[in-house]
Structure formats: structure tokens, C-alpha cells
Symmetry: C2
Subunit: 118 residues, 2 copies
């Protein structure tokens, strides 16, 4: 199994998400795709700064870029599922040791969910 490459992908994902501006950007993107300019404004950054963050997010595989159909100047960014899924899996491996505690926690959350109306 290619553990080392998987590991370095986790590293890339984590260091990409470590920056608050990039994490904010990802949170915006998980609602829906956004234009680069929208992201810059919403994150309170200059277009240049956001562009650099987006390049890093692209290189880390967290986002994909496409050109808008109507106006080819605008670039639309979208979240890619793979790195997040990989990180989730890494976390699950970590959580295995807490199986007992987590089972209790999940049972608690499940109980809360069950309270929610149909």
C-alpha cells in the first residue's frame, strides 16, 4: 500500500486547511461554487491574495477551477471531494482507538437526531 504518498496527500490537505483564510474559503465553497472575486470579497482579501490561496488550494487538490461559460474572464472554483474524504478517513483511523468513547458520543448524537421531527 502506498502509505507514504497517501500520507503526503494528508499533509498537503492539512497544511492547505491550516490557514484561516483558506479554511474560510473552503467553507464558502462547500455551500456552492464561487467566482474568484466573490471569494476575495467574502474573505476580506485582495484579489491577488485570494488568487494565491486558490493556487495553493488547486495544487493541494482541494478545489477545481473552470472558466465561466458566459464570461471567460471569470473563474469559478469548486470544492473537490477526494482530499476531504482522505482526511476524513485518516481521522477515522485516529478515532479507532477512542472507539468506546466515540461510540458513546455518536450514540448521544444519534439520540439528539432521533429527537428531530420526521
Amino acid at each position: 500500500m502506498a502509505l507514504s504518498s497517501a500520507a503526503s496527500q494528508i499533509d498537503r490537505t492539512l497544511s492547505a486547511l491550516a490557514d484561516p483564510s483558506r479554511r474560510r474559503t473552503v467553507e464558502l465553497l462547500r455551500e456552492r461554487p464561487h467566482r474568484a472575486g466573490e471569494l476575495a470579497a467574502a474573505a476580506g482579501l485582495s484579489p491577488a491574495a485570494m488568487s494565491r490561496h486558490l493556487r495553493l488550494l488547486r495544487q493541494s487538490g482541494l478545489v477545481s477551477e473552470r472558466h465561466d461559460g458566459l464570461d471567460a474572464r471569470v473563474r469559478v472554483y469548486q470544492l473537490r471531494p477526494e482530499p476531504m474524504a482522505g482526511l476524513a478517513q485518516w481521522l477515522q483511523e485516529t478515532e479507532a482507538m477512542w472507539a468506546g468513547q466515540l461510540t458513546a458520543f455518536k450514540a448521544h448524537m444519534q439520540a439528539l437526531d432521533d429527537d428531530s421531527p420526521a
Copy 2:
């Protein structure tokens, strides 16, 4: 809900995990608690460097420290579940978005289907 405080805890967790040496350390700790010296040797770091990483991991809430019962000089580090669970939950919110997009996609297809007939 205290989103901002929860957010900054996520930030602390992510930036703590972003460093490869610290991520390696966490991977060692998720098998079992370790002494500081063991962690330094296993991660290929000087005791001083590892000590600084452990301080940061402690401050971020990812690990707890205790003194060994027999030899009070040695410090045993252990993984704490809360920050990892918080990060897992944040990731789940992302997965919810995939489900949401899929739902939207299906709705879109449904709308097309409704247009199609006869």
C-alpha cells in the same frame, strides 16, 4: 451556537496537525501513550524540538501530559479526543454539502424529466 469559538478551535487543531512532525507524533500517540523521549526518537527529532512540538500540541488541546508514576522525570503524553472529534464533525458538515449537491442535481434531473414527457 458559538460558531466563532468553535471555528478558532478548528483552526488551532488544523494548524497543529499541519506540521508533518506533529502529525507523525499524533499518529504515534493514537496507538498508545508515549514518553516524550520515545516520541523524539521515533520522529527523528531532538528532545528539544519534540518538546516544543508537544507544548504546541498541548496548547491546542490535542494531547494531555502526565507524570509517570514510577519516575517523575518522564512525562507521558496521550491523545485527547475532543479536538479530533471536532474536526471530524467539521468534515461531516462538508460531506453534508455533497449530499446537498447531489440532491440539487437530482432535483435538476427531475425537472428535466418533467419537461420531457410526451
